[in-house]
C-alpha cells in the first residue's frame, strides 16, 4: 500500500493477459473471445443448413435442431459480434480521441472477463444436460415453465445475466472516456464517426441492458424460486416478457449496427481520399437512429394482438428510421462520388456493405407494415431480413474494420490477395445463402422448423441456401489463414499504411502502452489530415514531454468474474443440490474482491520521459 510505485510492473505471458488493464490488450482479448464464439456459432449455423438441405433430412434430431437455432442466435449476437465490436472500440476509440487510456481501466477489464465467462457458462450447457432450446428470444411460458424447458434455459438466464453485466459496465466506461478524456481541440463535432457511433452505442447499452437484466431476473425467479411473473395460472402475464425482451432487444440491434456504420464511414472516407460527405448530418442521423431505436420495440409483436392503434404507431415509428438510415447511405455514396477510390479489402467490404445493407433495410420497411407483417411473421422472410442487416450489414462492417485497423492493433498488414479471396467467397456465399430465403418465406416456409415436406416448391431454395454456406465458411477460413500469414510476415505496417485521416494513425503501430507520448493538439475534423494538409509531419503536441501516469495491472477483475461464474452454477443447480450455498459463496467471493478493490487504492506507476524516448526510437 505504498503511495509511490513508480516502476512499471514486470509481467509476461498468461499472467500478463489475465491481469492486464491496458485497453489495447483488452481489445485483443475481446477479439479472441469473439472469434472463438464466432466459430462456435458458425458451426451451429452449418449444422442447421445441413439439416435443411433437402426435405425430411435426418442429420440432427428435432430437439437438437431447437438447441442449435437457440444457441446460434444467442452465441452470434451476445458472444460473437458484441465482443468483436467491443474489441474494436477498445483498440481504437481512445486513440481516435487522443486519450492515453480509458476512464476506468479496471472496470474495462472486469467487463471483458464477465462477458467471456458468462459466454463460457452458457456454452458449457452443451455438456451438462443439453443447451437451451427455447429460441434466442426465450418466450414465456415455453422458457418459464419447467414442463416445457430443460436446465439449458437456466444456463441461458444466468449466462446472459453475467455477460450482460459486463457489457453494461463496458458501455459506461466508453461514455465517460469519450465525454471526459478527449484531447485539447477534439470537440464533439470533430470526433471521428467511429467514436461517435461508439458513443451512441454505449448510451443505448446503458439504457437497454438494464431492461434485459430485469427480464432475466423475472425468468430466473419464475424458474428457480417459483415466482409467477409469467405463470398465467397464478395471474402472471406472458406478454410482459415480450415487452421487456424487445425493449432491450430492439435497441440491441442498433447497438450492433451503429458501430458498423461508424466503421464504414471511416473506411469509405479514407479510401476515397475525401472528407466524409455530410459529417454533421451523419452525426445527427446516428443520434436520431439511437433515439428512434427505443421507440419501435413493439414491431416485433404486431401479431401479439396489441390492437390497431399500437400497431400503427409502432409501424410508423419503424418506417421513420429509414430516413436517418437513408441519409447515411446517400452520404457514403456521395463520399465515394468523385473520390480517388482504392479498392483495398477493407473498402471492398465497405462498398459491399452498402447495397447489401440497403436490401436488409428495405425488407425492414416491408416488415414495418403491420398487415403485411401478419404474412411475413415467423417466416423465412424475417430470417432473410435480419441476416441481411446483421451479416450483410454488421459482419461486413466488422470485417472492413478488422482489415482497416489490423495494422494499428498488431503492427502487421493483413494480406490483400487473401483478403480479396475472403471478400468474394464470403460475399457470394452470403447472398447465395440468404437471398433465396426471402422467397422461401414468401412461399410460406416458417422459421424454426427442423424440416419440411417435399413437393411444396421449397427444395430448390433450401438447397441453394445450404450451398451458399460453403462460401461463407471458406471466406472465414481464408480470413483465419490470413491472420496467420500476417503474424508470420516480417514486414512492419508503419504508422500510417493507408494514408489515413484520423488521430490513431499519428502514432506507432502497434500503439505504445501510453498511446501518445505527448497529448496531441487537435486543429480540425480529420485531425491528422488537417496537419498533413498544413504540411506538418505529425500532430502538434499540446504539452511538453513529461512523466506519464499508468494504472497497475490487477487480477481482481478475473476473480470477481470467477465468483459470479461459480455463483451461476450455484443457482442453476440449486434445485438439484437442494442448497444455495455455492451461489451464496460465489457472490460473497465477488463482494469480497470488491471490498479489496475499495480498501487498497491503486496508485499506479509512472513512465518517465527517458523511457518514452527509448521506446520511441525503437518504433
Amino acid at each position: 500500500m505504498s503511495d509511490h510505485t513508480s516502476h512499471a510492473p514486470n509481467r509476461s505471458g498468461l499472467w500478463d493477459w489475465l491481469t492486464t488493464v491496458d485497453h489495447k490488450k483488452i481489445g485483443i482479448l475481446y477479439l479472441i473471445a469473439g472469434g472463438f464464439f464466432f466459430i462456435l456459432g458458425g458451426v451451429e449455423a452449418m449444422l442447421i443448413r445441413l439439416q435443411l438441405i433437402y426435405p425430411e433430412a435426418k442429420f440432427v434430431a428435432a430437439g437438437t435442431f431447437n438447441e442449435l437455432i437457440t444457441m446460434h442466435g444467442t452465441t452470434m449476437i451476445f458472444l460473437a459480434v458484441m465482443p468483436v465490436i467491443f474489441g474494436l472500440m477498445n483498440a481504437i476509440v481512445p486513440l481516435q480521441i487522443g486519450a492515453r487510456d480509458v476512464a476506468f481501466p479496471f472496470v474495462n477489464a472486469l467487463g471483458f472477463w464477465l462477458a467471456a465467462l458468462g459466454g463460457l457458462l452458457l456454452n458449457t450447457s452443451w455438456f451438462l444436460g443439453g443447451a437451451p432450446d427455447v429460441g434466442w428470444t426465450a418466450y414465456a411460458t415455453l422458457s418459464s415453465n419447467h414442463k416445457f424447458s430443460t436446465l439449458g434455459t437456466d444456463f441461458y438466464v444466468l449466462g446472459l445475466q453475467i455477460a450482460g453485466l459486463g457489457t453494461l459496465i463496458g458501455g459506461i466506461n466508453f461514455l465517460v472516456t469519450i465525454i471526459n478524456m478527449r484531447a485539447p481541440g477534439m470537440t464533439f463535432m470533430r470526433m471521428p464517426l467511429f467514436t461517435w457511433s461508439s458513443f451512441v452505442t454505449s448510451a443505448l447499452i446503458l439504457f437497454a441492458f438494464p431492461a434485459l437484466t430485469v427480464g432475466l431476473v423475472f425468468l430466473m425467479f419464475d424458474r428457480i424460486f417459483g415466482a409467477n411473473f409469467f405463470n398465467p395460472d397464478a395471474g402472471g402475464n406472458i406478454v410482459i416478457w415480450e415487452h421487456i425482451f424487445w425493449i432491450f432487444g430492439h435497441p440491441e440491434v442498433y447497438i450492433l449496427i451503429l458501430p458498423a456504420f461508424g466503421i464504414i464511414s471511416e473506411v469509405v472516407s479514407t479510401f476515397s481520399k475525401k472528407r466524409l460527405f455530410g459529417y454533421s448530418s451523419m452525426v445527427f442521423a446516428t443520434i436520431l437512429i439511437g433515439f428512434l431505436g427505443f421507440m419501435v420495440w413493439a414491431h416485433h409483436m404486431f401479431t401479439t394482438g396489441l390492437g390497431p392503434i399500437a400497431n400503427t404507431l409502432f409501424g410508423i415509428a419503424t418506417m421513420l428510421i429509414a430516413v436517418p438510415t437513408g441519409i447515411k447511405i446517400f452520404n457514403w455514396l456521395l463520399t465515394l462520388w468523385g473520390g480517388h477510390i482504392r479498392f483495398t479489402t477493407a473498402n471492398l467490404f465497405a462498398v459491399g456493405f452498402i447495397p447489401t445493407f440497403t436490401i436488409g433495410g428495405m425488407t425492414g420497411v416491408m416488415l414495418a407494415v403491420p398487415p403485411a407483417d401478419y404474412q411475413y411473421h415467423d417466416s423465412y422472410f424475417v430470417v432473410a431480413h435480419f441476416h441481411y442487416v446483421i451479416v450483410g450489414g454488421l459482419v461486413f462492417g466488422l470485417f472492413a474494420g478488422l482489415y482497416y485497423w489490423w495494422p494499428k492493433m498488431f503492427g502487421k498488414l493483413l494480406n490483400e490477395t487473401l483478403g480479396k479471396w475472403h471478400f468474394w467467397t464470403f460475399f457470394i456465399g452470403f447472398h447465395l445463402t440468404f437471398f433465396p430465403q426471402h422467397f422461401l418465406g414468401l412461399m410460406g416456409m416458417p422459421r424454426r422448423v427442423f424440416t419440411y415436406l417435399p413437393g411444396q416448391n421449397l427444395e430448390m431454395g433450401n438447397l441453394i441456401s445450404s450451398i451458399g454456406v460453403i462460401g461463407m465458411a471458406l471466406g472465414s477460413i481464408i480470413f483465419a489463414i490470413n491472420m496467420v500469414v500476417a503474424a508470420k510476415s516480417k514486414k512492419a505496417a508503419g504508422n500510417d499504411p493507408w494514408d489515413a485521416r484520423t488521430l490513431e494513425w499519428a502514432i506507432p503501430s502497434p500503439a505504445p502502452e501510453y498511446n501518445f507520448a505527448q497529448t496531441p493538439l487537435v486543429r480540425g475534423l480529420d485531425a491528422l489530415w488537417t496537419e498533413k494538409m498544413a504540411g506538418n509531419k505529425g500532430m502538434t503536441p499540446a504539452e511538453p514531454l513529461g512523466s506519464i501516469h499508468m494504472p497497475s495491472p490487477s487480477f481482481l477483475p478475473f476473480l470477481m468474474s470467477l465468483g459470479l461464474f461459480v455463483a451461476g452454477y450455484g443457482f442453476i443447480y440449486a434445485g438439484q443440490w437442494g442448497t444455495y450455498i455455492v451461489a451464496i459463496a460465489g457472490i460473497a467471493f465477488t463482494l469480497l474482491c470488491m471490498l479489496l478493490r475499495s480498501l487498497y487504492d491503486d496508485h499506479g506507476y509512472h513512465i518517465e520521459p527517458d523511457e518514452i524516448e527509448e521506446k520511441g526510437v525503437k518504433a
Binding site: 503511495d3 476506468f104 459506461i172 461514455l175 425467479f221 402472471g236
Partner: protein, 210 residues
Amino acid sequence: MAADHAVNTVLPDEPEKATLEGKNKVLGFWLFLGGETVLFGTLFATFIALRDQVNGGPSAQELFDMKIVAWATFLLLTSSLTSVFATMALHKHNLKAVQGWLVITVLLGLGFLGLEIYEFYHYVHEELGMTTSAFSSSFYTLVGFHGGHVAFGICWITGLIIQSMKKGLTVVTAPKFYVAGLYWHFIDVVWVFIFTVVYLMGMIGGKAVA
C-alpha cells in the same frame, strides 16, 4: 501531476472533482444511476401490470400496515438528509463531521432495513409468499430489489467510514464519499416512488380480492 502528490497539500474546494479520476468516477456514477433508473422503471412497470392479480391470496389493501411503512419512510428520508450533511461536511473538509453524519445515515438505514424485514416476515405469516400470486412475486421483487440496494449501501458506506479512519480525507477518498452520497439519494428517491405506487396506490386503488 498525479493524484498522490496532492495528498499532502491543501484540499481543493470540491475535492471529489479535483482529479481526472474523480471527475470520471462522478460522471460514470451518474450514468450508472441512469441505468439503474431503467432497471427500477422496468420493475415498477411490471408491478403496476400485475398488482391486481392476487390469485386468491391476500391483496395489498388487506395486508399493508401503513404505520410500519410510514416509520420506514420517515427513517429513510431522514437518512437522505444526513447523507447531504455528510457531503456538505466533505466540501468543508471536515472529516470528523463526514464520518459522524455517515454513521447516523447507516444507523437510520439499518432501522429502515429492520422494519422492512419485519414487514416481509409479517406478510409471509399472512400467507403472502413469493409463489402465492403474480402480485406477491412482483411486490417482493420490486421492494426486495430496493431493500437489497439499501443493504448494499449500508455495507459500502460502512466500508468507507472504516477506511477513511486510516486514509483521511484526500482527493482519492473524496470521490468515494461523494459517489456513495449520490447512491444513497437514488435509493431514497426510488423509495418515494415505492411508497406512492406500491403502498399509497395499493391502499386506495385496485380491486378487492379478485
